[in-house]
Amino acid sequence: MDSATTLTSLIILLPLLGFLVNGLWGLSSKSFRQRKSLIGSIANLTVFIPFAIAVYFFMNMGQNAEPIIAELFTWIEVGSFSVDIAYQIDQLSILMTLVVTGVGFLIHMYSIGYMWHDEGYWKFFAYLNLFIFAMLNLVLADNLLLLFLGWEGVGLCSYLLIGFWYTDMANSAAGSKAFWYNRVGDFAFLVAMFLTFQHVGSLDFDNILSSLDAIPADDKFWIGLLVFIGATGKSAQIPLFVWLPDAMAGPTSVSALIHAATMVTSGIYLISRLSPMFVMSPEVMMIIAVIGALTAIVAATIALTQNDIKRVLAYSTVSQLGYMFLALGSGAFTAAMFHVVTHAFFKALLFLGSGSVIHAMEHVEHDLQEEGKDVHFDPQDMRFMGGLKEYMPSTYKTFLIATIAIAGIPPLAGFFSKDEILAFTFNAGMGEFAGSLYIFLWVIGIITAFLTAFYMFRLTFGTFNGSFKLPEKISEAAGAEKHLHESPKSMTIPLWTLGGLSVVGGFLGVPNFLLSTFTHQEEHINLLHNWLYNVTADYELALSHSIEWILMTVSIIVAVGGVYIAYRMYGSGATEESDAKLSDRFGALYETWSEKYNLDEFYEGIVVHPIVRGSEKGLAKFDMKIVDGVVNTVGGVVRLFGSVFRYIQTGVTSSYALALVLGVILVLSMLIL
């Protein structure tokens, strides 16, 4: 094995090792479970070392470097079908690996403090490592089947982690829900794999992308569509997004990991990986863009009405993922990956910050109960918060940075990536295929950008500005603010690191026109574009500089406008009064939003209920009569024969021996005579 293969297998195997050590040792030894610093260190190291290796690969890889293929062994070989456990390190996968292990490591570190008092500490870290292992398989795989292994692996881990506090039925249900909705998408993905294999005869990305001509245009459309449906499951797009907000039931660091940095972005990664195939079917691209834009705006409007801080963030994630799909559908794969990266920074930060807030609120509740006061409230409900910025300065500052970044205020991370997505959507609108539709999608994108700035600042102001509302709401909780305190260092260090990344992350992809306007040089200076140039098949950006300037100005005005209005309404921390005003203004529309478009009820009525009823009426009967019937008939025939032949059995050995001798004599006499 050469050194690259060894290092690659280390990246993959270390998290697995961490999972095995913490999981098996924790399972077998009670005293080990108490050694929390050891457990935390193992889990953190097994993610940090892969990160360091990924950095090493990244440093040594040029933008034109050939992909490194690390073949470990042949996994499946049947006839002409052969799949290896092989990993591919190229510009795209190393970018994802850096995000997964880097942000993943920060979240691991944060979890040390956040989960310290949890009984299942060892189990939590074992699952977390397994998750990283699966995710690394997903992003590093060099073929579709191995990717699918990781794809299912993260599905399993999300189920385990969302339902981590499994003694609460609601949490278990949320875990199952995530699992089932993902299965729907996975089925489509599987069919896409079969179709691909039928035409190409191989599942390696290399072979698929080099023999795209072998796939008829019709099937390219279907493969693209099916892969996309798979991606809608994992990346929580319409119509399969309803699992993600419920998935907030897990510990907050899980939400940060799954819902910001890793699992939900795997759909975007997959489509970027197969981008040369997608650009060949503009219809699929259009469908992706439409679904993405719709998801973005639908989730953004729901986010306006939520009071649970983690739910606001969850809908915000869905909305931002919609943005990424809008980018994919507009042929801006690099921009989509760019947004994946920046979003990983600020969304992980937002989730971890909210975790810090929830942590503090839970302590308040706990301390009040220690004092003998019977105070119960939802520690995630922002209506009980307000004024937290004095008590939790680090959390407040980092949360504010992330909010500015996601709102799209220059020059923080979210601005450049979001602006590039909008520019490419507009660019696709100038194209020949479905131009006016893309312009319409661009308008949706702009409206969503406004809503994003608005609801995110509503959240920040409601949580941190004004006065602490708990004592006002519950009279028994008077003086509760003295229990508020900042989170421990192990939690604030990741916050500040992610805060720094959220500030500078955007400079990865400063658009070309911005610099060329000042330097009058037409060179391509966009780092991320140059980096991914050989891997993804982006559309050409054919807009003139003046149009790009106008587009950028529009998005700045929109974002600032959103922030300003949010400040006017929520700046004083008057969340509920202003929500009431909004509700008055929009009436039935607001009702729909806060009812989440009744999508859950819709699925319940249209899909779940008929299936359950059908199973009870039809399938249960089929099972009892037909399936059990066949099995019982086979058994019955055997019993029938038995009931006849058992009378021959006397159980007396001598008579058997006599029969044997007589038989031999008979045979011999027949032979002789």
């Binding site: 058992r646 059995q649 006397t650 159980g651 007396v652 050995t653 001598s654 021996a657 006599l658 001798v661």
Partner: protein, 100 residues
């Protein structure tokens, strides 16, 4: 030299004694011994023919049957001991637990 007929006659006699033993005795161990007797009767005729025709094959077959008989005796005795532990008897006619 004694003619082969005498050997074959002895072999047939031993074999018949073995069969009768197996058929009429109730003690499992005796039955077992009778089976061995039958086996050795056959071995005797094999060796006789082998020596008569000057062909070594028959003697090699005897080695095989001896080896197999030894293995069989191990298993058989183990079963008989197990039966004895359960029934405190090796009467073969009492082992009919699984009969209808």
């Amino acid at each position: 030299m004694i003619s082969i007929d005498w050997f074959l006659a002895l072999s047939a006699l031993l074999f018949c004694i073995g069969i009768i033993g197996v058929l009429i005795r109730k003690n499992a161990i005796v039955i077992f011994m009778c089976v061995e007797l039958m086996l050795n009767a056959v071995n005797l005729s094999l060796i006789s023919f082998s020596s008569h025709y000057g062909n070594i094959d028959g003697q090699i077959l005897v080695f095989f049957s001896l080896a197999v008989a030894a293995a069989e005796a191990v298993v058989g005795l183990a079963i008989i001991i197990a039966i004895f532990r359960n029934n405190l008897s090796v009467d073969i006619n009492k082992v009919s637990l699984l009969r209808w």
